[in-house]
Symmetry: C2
């Protein structure tokens, strides 16, 4: 099957047109000179975990941020790299495919060849398995021709495997040594980038010269932190799913109710609370003669419902003890048994599925939407019988939008973003950095305003003291964790402001299908636009302020100036110490 990878393919007209599209580069990446400016050494956002992270990553923790700047920018300390020896770089897709992945490879290949035509890029075939087995395909312009700006990961294929066990890490180390790689680029989500950081540390310890770079590409949209504004793929997935959801709304002439797992978990809503909430909404709309509506449920919602989560934990515990599926219900605690028996047979069967060890995939096997539809229907029928609800009979139709979006042609934004990240990747390697993730900030502005940089992956890590659910990463170990919806963030605030309008009115703008030309093509996700980002820009601005203070308050300055500076700085440090002390809960990443 390997022979299928990288072969030229027959494309549809639109695919052909898209394959001709050439993303631009921001000013800082144009030309053949790499200029890098280093910031201060980084720390972890979660200060209470910083020690653990530092201990686990002695070689790669605390490295500075890197900013790639224009050749003409006036920054005295910038390092200018004009010597570009030919280098060999390997690239591997890790984890589930996401729109835009191919453009990372294209951008990287392009950057390599611009700086030295003798440099080469090897793609590992079949994901991490291909890395371990050293199965490679040399990337060329010809091979890229039918994969530029296209969806899927099929240029190279992928596996869902991780690079984590000693055996796997050693296999990767041997591959990089045997193939004499100067760089190894890992394209993936939170798990794969955690693995990338680990590899970087191991390579540094083993004095392997290969530098490891991570690229944030995932269909889950959850690789997002102070350095990473959004991951490649999120824009496309949003656009395709909005189209589908809007079409269902247009179909129902419909209103929306959005239920977030984070809300449910934060407010400890039970299954019965949720059912009641939905029933009340149905009833309120029926009173306005609106016998239609659309409810959006996230895939992992079931995990956020406390009693279902506890039931799942019991079941998984019993499964791990080897209790057979048929015998499980008899061994549950009395209340868990009661809940289990209360659930419809379909859901009971799904709850008994074996959890995948390190993967939340089986959550999508539990049809939360059907469970809620079943419970809401029963409750509405009860209300109808009791006369508290006087409307028409309730009837639900369930949809599952889990797979339709991730194979999509990437949006213009994702094509551009991934291509630029590919270029940055070369700059990171040229600067000799190890254990970094390529970053672009200021993404909500047009491409010529984008800021390019790199941040140590260790600075994105946190250490979880507790964890829930089969999807969670090992507790107590540093890792890049999936971003959850920030219930204090601006996007959520916007949702809250509109919640009753969304619930009661028939508000439905249909964004329509993903466009590549014209007005729709440049639309960006609301979360990207409303959230207060550009962390990297602010870090730079702060540095400039500190430098300015140092310049003004040089020895020889007046006593008054010194006094003013001292009292102001005391106040600043006092405030910041208080805000970041562990007793204050530390500073949450965002």
């Amino acid at each position: 099957m390997d022979s299928d990878f990288g072969i030229a393919r027959e494309l549809s007209d639109l695919q052909k047109l898209r394959s001709q599209y050439q993303p631009e580069l921001p000013p800082c990446l144009q030309g053949t000179t790499v200029r890098v400016e280093f910031g201060d050494g980084t720390t972890a956002a979660d200060s209470s975990g910083a020690h653990t992270i530092c201990r686990s990553f002695p070689h790669t923790y605390g490295q500075p941020l890197a900013h790639f700047i224009r050749a003409t920018a006036k920054v005295p300390d910038a390092q200018i790299i004009t010597d570009h020896p030919a280098i060999r770089v390997g690239v591997v897709f890790c984890g589930r495919q996401s729109p835009g992945g191919h453009n990372v490879i294209w951008g990287l290949h392009n950057a390599l060849k611009i700086h030295n035509p003798n440099s080469s890029l090897l793609g590992f075939l079949g994901g991490s398995e291909g890395l371990f087995a050293q199965k490679t395909l040399e990337i060329t312009d010809d091979i890229l021709a039918t994969y530029k700006n296209q969806g899927g990961y099929d240029l190279l294929g992928r596996t869902k495997d991780q690079i984590r066990t000693t055996e796997q890490v050693n296999a990767a180390l041997n591959a990089c040594r045997d193939l004499k790689l100067d760089g190894l680029v890992i394209v993936g989500g939170v798990t794969s980038n955690t693995d990338a950081a680990q590899l970087a540390e191991t390579f540094a310890e083993a004095k392997c010269p290969t530098k490891v770079v991570g690229i944030p590409v995932t269909l889950n949209g959850d690789l997002k932190n102070q350095f990473v504004e959004t991951n490649v793929g999120f824009d496309t997935i949003c656009k395709v799913n909005s189209q589908l959801i809007s079409n269902v709304c247009t179909d129902a002439l419909s209103a929306e109710k959005v239920i977030l797992g984070e809300e449910v978990a934060a407010s400890k809503l039970t299954l019965f609370d949720l059912t009641k909430q939905i029933c009340d909404a149905v009833q309120a709309r029926a009173e306005q003669d609106k016998y239609h509506g659309v409810i959006l449920l996230p895939e992992g919602l079931i995990e956020s419902i406390p009693e279902v989560y506890a039931l799942l934990q019991e079941i998984h515990g019993l499964l791990r003890q080897g209790v057979s599926v048929d015998a499980i219900s008899t061994q549950l605690s009395p209340w868990a048994y009661a809940l289990f028996e209360f659930l419809p047979p379909l859901i009971r069967k799904q709850l008994l599925l074996h959890p995948e060890s390190d993967d939340s995939a089986q959550l999508s096997q539990i049809e939360t939407e059907k469970l809620l539809a079943h419970l809401v229907e029963a409750e509405m029928n009860k209300r109808l019988k009791e006369g508290t609800y006087k409307g028409k009979k309730f009837n639900a139709i369930c949809h599952f939008f889990g797979y339709q979006a991730r194979g999509s042609l990437p949006s213009k934004f994702d094509c551009d973003y991934a291509y630029v990240l590919g270029h940055i990747c070369y700059h990171i390697l040229a600067a000799g950095l190890n254990g970094y993730m390529a970053t672009v900030t200021n993404l909500k502005n047009p491409l010529n305003k984008w800021r390019c940089g790199a941040a140590p992956i260790t600075a994105m890590m946190t250490v979880k003291r507790y964890g829930r659910g089969p999807g969670a990463l090992p507790i107590g170990k540093p890792a890049v964790h999936p971003a959850t919806v920030d219930l204090k963030g601006k996007a959520y605030e916007l949702l809250r402001q509109n919640v009753s309008k969304f619930l009661m009115d028939d508000v439905y703008r249909n964004p329509g299908p993903l466009q590549f030309d014209g007005i729709g093509a440049d639309a960006k996700a609301v979360t990207l636009c409303v959230e207060d980002q550009d962390y990297m820009g602010r870090i730079k601005a702060l540095q400039e302020y500190l430098d300015k203070v140092r310049m003004i308050v040089k020895p020889g300055c007046s006593q008054d100036v010194l006094k003013a500076a001292l009292s102001a700085m005391t106040a600043v440090t006092d405030i910041l110490s208080t805000m970041t002390s562990p007793s204050n809960g530390g500073n949450t990443p965002y």
Copy 2:
């Protein structure tokens, strides 16, 4: 809730852009002169049903085809209509919404106002119920502003009700009389257009001056016959669903297997044959190391499987007799009971759902895909155990694409087509025609080559002697029937030619999301392009030949010419008589 209809709405950027799009008109509809050329009187394609249709439609059967032609065309017999008194027209959406419906109203409104600014268009609110209750909204440019080129039917709303009972027909007649309508336009699919023909006949009989016109708009894609090349909505639905299916294929790096209900019915495949076919395909692909694949099943497939159909018939018979759902299985015939018990509980429950009287909607409630996934998994496990299959464990993920497409923004083609049909509608009314459907032929060519006309709806009718399934129309009564896939047609031939390639290779061109600009925007459905259509054009061409023969063989021509003409015409009539005799099965329309 009526107050929601026709209100200005907040549109997304893409919706706004689309609302600015102005479809063009083919040359024959430009200007303010209507020129109509009548063809021969029509007959029904199904000659054996012609008597029945003629008896049921004494006033509206046998009317001629109408062709609308350019003002400058040299056609001596064309009727030229230059007098355009102000008229009042009503329009109603019937049946399920389909992309493009709004543009019919826009086109009609535009044509009415161009020819006489005092003409008015009344939209009935809430479908046929609004027609019966005489709830109207006068269409204006302002009202249309946010509905131009938009999906849904929400400008006016709709019901799924029919206009069929004496009570309903009388209510419609009263509405047309009370509102003094010159024309009533019915926008809908096969059922609604059958109703339109019946209304036209009733109105003619009752000497009601309102002319009834049908417009082919349906999400089902099955209003297609010798006069109608495709219905409005089909292009959009094809494009949105192809995108979704292709994304799933890209996701699976996948091959396709298409299973058509028509094939299954024609070859009398049982559930076990189907299961075996799929298992063989899975196994053949596994032997090539391809552990992925996509199988397309049509929604109504379950009905086409003989034994399941028979089981459904037994269940529906018992339900109609009032047997309770719990008691049904005990009253089934022994073999039906055996099949019923063999099926998984989920499917058993779905089979017991009450059939909707006149509607195949509940077929979508039977999850055929899950049934087949269940059976295939069981069979693959059996083969694995027996050692006849040696590959990986089989695992299926089911998707249902039933609702995502029909609320879509209409494609450029559907916008144009619907708008042009709206204009034709005015021309039909100006020509004083009753019981016609607006038609455009030569659709596979660019818009400036489209031919515009009208055909009596009765000429599209057939009389079914037998019928199956809850979706079938009354047996023995003339009706416009849904077009099925023509197993002798060119589109099916194309599918057959590629079937093994589709099955075994990873052939997947992704058409990508629906585009409104550039190359993808003008793509047309393969079926529209490969099928041998332009029936209306050929009917005209034949007429021209007959006229030519008459011109050449005028009294006074030579004996030799007459003899040659006579023998040639004898041969032609002999052949045609033989081809159309009932013993030869008549000529099936499709």
